[in-house]
Symmetry: none
Subunit: 258 residues, 2 copies
Amino acid sequence: MGNIWAPLAKAIAATGTDKHVDCLIDLIGADIEHDLVTVTRYSTTQTPEFVKHRRFSDEMVRRYLDNYYVFDPFYASWRRERRLGIMPLKRLADEEAKRGQYIAGFLAQSEICDEVGIMLADGGDWCLGIFLDRSTSSFKESEIALLDERLPVFEALHALDIKARGAEFSRTSAPTSPGASPRQKPTIPVSLWPELSLRERELVQLVLAGHPTATIAERLGITVGTVKNHRRRIYDKLDITTERELFLQFFQRRDPEV
Amino acid sequence: MGNIWAPLAKAIAATGTDKHVDCLIDLIGADIEHDLVTVTRYSTTQTPEFVKHRRFSDEMVRRYLDNYYVFDPFYASWRRERRLGIMPLKRLADEEAKRGQYIAGFLAQSEICDEVGIMLADGGDWCLGIFLDRSTSSFKESEIALLDERLPVFEALHALDIKARGAEFSRTSAPTSPGASPRQKPTIPVSLWPELSLRERELVQLVLAGHPTATIAERLGITVGTVKNHRRRIYDKLDITTERELFLQFFQRRDPEV
DNA sequence: CGCGCCATATGCCTAAAGGCACAATGACGA
DNA sequence: TCGTCATTGTGCCTTTAGGCATATGGCGCG
């Protein structure tokens, strides 16, 4: 085992910054020889998002997102079981037909012969999959065991990054795929602003999560004009005129010390 | 070397919480046999603060604070040189008279025969000293080397804790000693965003109080254009692009639960 | 002395929020 | 049935924030 402390210190310091994912990759791959890295985000309800890769081709990324993700056994596993942790490809007791197509099609074209996924919770129904890939030999059981031993640290680091940044600002996120976002229950309690309707509360939640009008419209499957209408109506009800006043009211009602 | 990964994961997860210091102690002491632990905060200008101890006596704490801290070679070293890092007692090229008194007096009464300090930056002119103590044998050079190797991780964890909480909220702090004159503290603490200048902090304070650019300009006696410049510079430093992200960062750093 | 940082200022442009008005539909209760 | 409310949509205009570039002077440091 080599010196793990320097990449570890860097990964700790990088939580909450742009460099988190890169440092996490460095840490994960520190004692495990690998040829490629891919980083993907999976949801149980949306198509995967490709976050980042090392020594992989943009063309293969495009093919994955266009077609091959359907056969991705890691993605299937997430959607079916939402299982986190270290996940070697060879252990995926997936449908053999799909796995076969993933291996014969996508992995072969990518010159990957084995893959191990490190699946970390990423907020909501999402997970972040960091994949180490081998081109010429398979991962050994001792290497998998090493990753298993270190998993709590990877998880803690990523949890800290989410906490520091908030899931909505996660640097692991990519643009939302086309299609209506599934309805989420609002986390803004009725008691905070009892005069607001359910829809209005949904919208306030997104505002307070930092989303601009265009993103909110997209998220809720409505037009920008409608979002503005809602904003207007919310401001009227709360006797304010700007978004920043909404933030302040939230501060004050939630945490009177501010 | 034993299993370091579980205490490491716990220490990572504990940053920004009440348990940070305890988990840091666990991590530091994981592979180093020790009998006692003491945790002290040193300033270059104020008397030391006793933060925490394990298997040490409250009576000895009282004696230290009443009298013996004057002879404490670690405290003297901090005041003189502000040196951080791993610091074995036997390496302190201190005044022999003072060191002698610390050893013959305080350490002997505490049944401590050797001590190693892990000195971590704690904000301002303060450092946090975590001391592993031995009752019957000295620390070996190999043990010191192990701590030296791991120091960057200890430092990164503690830096993250400070960052998450802000020095004003630091759980390592104790009540100001009697007679210390209270300092004027800005509403926006330096430690919240240490990269911001004083002027920038003034401006952020007004932004977070809900003022638009025109009002801020008026309040600070500068032009709207200059306010925009400051905003731009602040956003660059904080790696954001909008005011709403500033609100969110403030939420998250002040109250990570949001 | 040169450089970097900080604070201040100007100008121009674009993007986004806010303001206002109007419209339609559906659900619900009196 | 009617009135109210919620939700959705359109259009137009104004205000404000953000983006970018440039400039100057003061200060501290190597």
